[in-house]
Symmetry: C2
Subunit: 345 residues, 2 copies
Amino acid sequence: MKKGCKFGTHRVIEPKGTLPQPAWKIDNDMNIYDNEILIDVQTLNIDSASFTQIKEEANGEVEKIKEIMLGIVEKRGKHHNPTTGSGGMLIGTIEKIGPALEGKTDLKVGDKIATLVSLSLTPLRIDKIKEVRKNVDQVDVEGKAILFESGIYAVIPKDMPENLALSVLDVAGAPAQTAKLVKPGDTVFVIGGTGKSGMLCLYEAKKRAGITGKVICLGTREESVNRVKKVGLADEYIIADATKSVEIMEKVKEITGGKMADVTINCVNIPNTEMSSILATKDDGLIYFFSMATSFTKAALGAEGVGMDTRMIIGNGYTKGHAKISLEIMRESKELRELYEKLYA
Amino acid sequence: MKKGCKFGTHRVIEPKGTLPQPAWKIDNDMNIYDNEILIDVQTLNIDSASFTQIKEEANGEVEKIKEIMLGIVEKRGKHHNPTTGSGGMLIGTIEKIGPALEGKTDLKVGDKIATLVSLSLTPLRIDKIKEVRKNVDQVDVEGKAILFESGIYAVIPKDMPENLALSVLDVAGAPAQTAKLVKPGDTVFVIGGTGKSGMLCLYEAKKRAGITGKVICLGTREESVNRVKKVGLADEYIIADATKSVEIMEKVKEITGGKMADVTINCVNIPNTEMSSILATKDDGLIYFFSMATSFTKAALGAEGVGMDTRMIIGNGYTKGHAKISLEIMRESKELRELYEKLYA
């Protein structure tokens, strides 16, 4: 059995010398190296920005969606959307564990796990697409995947349905980072607060900002804002197009009495919302971009352009304890869990 | 005289409702609004990533460079490179000040200033390109530009040549942010440490990390690394291709005895260096991306992909006092000033 690199560089086909994520193409042969884990894949959870793009390209037609997805994996050896640059995650059962991992991993053959590393670096083979669940970005397949030694994962909890856990784990980084960033008394502005990651961020923000803080939710549609309002996830609600930066600024100014937000969390999966984030935030505030549609240059030049000293953080999908923190929300809030189950599971 | 918005939204032609920076096209008519400042432009300092792209597209031919630059301004009303998304800055003399700014600004007609907001949002008219200084990314022109009310600027200091001040101010955000991020005892890794912003970052890093810290400079070419070595800007030097993440990681591991960097500052103007930054940094370290060639998704997914909890910051070109901090370096270090004058002025 061949010896593999911790980060999976042995799977990179082109360009050589890079890691599997930035690589254009990786090897998806399912004979494992000595430090790899083979997974029998059950469900792919496609990144929201990626799946939105695929659905648009396919005009919403299921057969065309399948074709595009199979094409991506065929070309790249992984489900790494070339347009959005993003991936997603998967759920499956451990089929084989490389001997070099013995004593290093708690996993055993037969465990059901969710991989918490992106599909954009995970060797994947799809034998058949069984079902496309368009509204929840989930696709059931027959196929295999590889988890590298450095790859993170979570064993699926037994006290909630699999699809619910998968939906929560897919965006686990966002609420966990929110929990770490928000301090008591903070005014927190969540852009895209009615979405999959946004709702969890609202929940954590409200919990951490506490009674002296203020949490503001921005959503595009009245229907989805009302949904969130019913669960009481925020203190204030704005219904507006997230790309209309000047309008957003005026509304946040009104709600905060001109003080603006201490922390802004951007979870909306559409482009051109950098400036709304910047203008809604205090000069010495902090912006956390979790959206994969964020443009680095638009954020950097945007803040400079309006002379704002705002700290802007690139949303890292991983932070210590993120699976634990996010799954716990489903246990804490019965109302949010019910809503989440209805929408995403 | 027409009343203008603080941020210059009155100049946006398309798409409406956005700010001048994200806008595709802005109005470069040189009749000023009541809160605008008219500048007689002398020199454009094109952003390094942008100018590298333009030079490549022009195969290095000066006439072709001029044509591309005029084309950009013709199409967009600003020098906003559509490929890189970045701008640059300019130097010029105040020609007219809108009456609404009376008592609000210290500037007077005749002052020579550098604008510290990006060219990617500055209304610009180029009447003639007089000289292209290819090696310093500077272009002398006859033309006019507009500074908005929110626009930041620096009056050119009298104790150093203009072109030197302009080169320093162009990258002022990077050393000023470095000064704020680096703590005594830190191990600091500067990627692209031999470049225009990199050298200033090295200087600030060494000053702030102090005798108990360690500053590591990464450069691509032996010649430029030797230049920096002669001035003694770093404690350790690596000569390598910044895109070779695994190689870079091994070298930083060796130098730090496996501890890796506390703070990594990425100043290199080439794509695909996100992973090198991540692998060279401690799991709980901090990465500051100043390079405009940074890809948001590559950074976000890259860190997640290797299970790293690293905090990654989007380099904001502006931070309070940035002009003062960076110009002061030229007064503090005679050696660095000499090198800077030779290379960039």
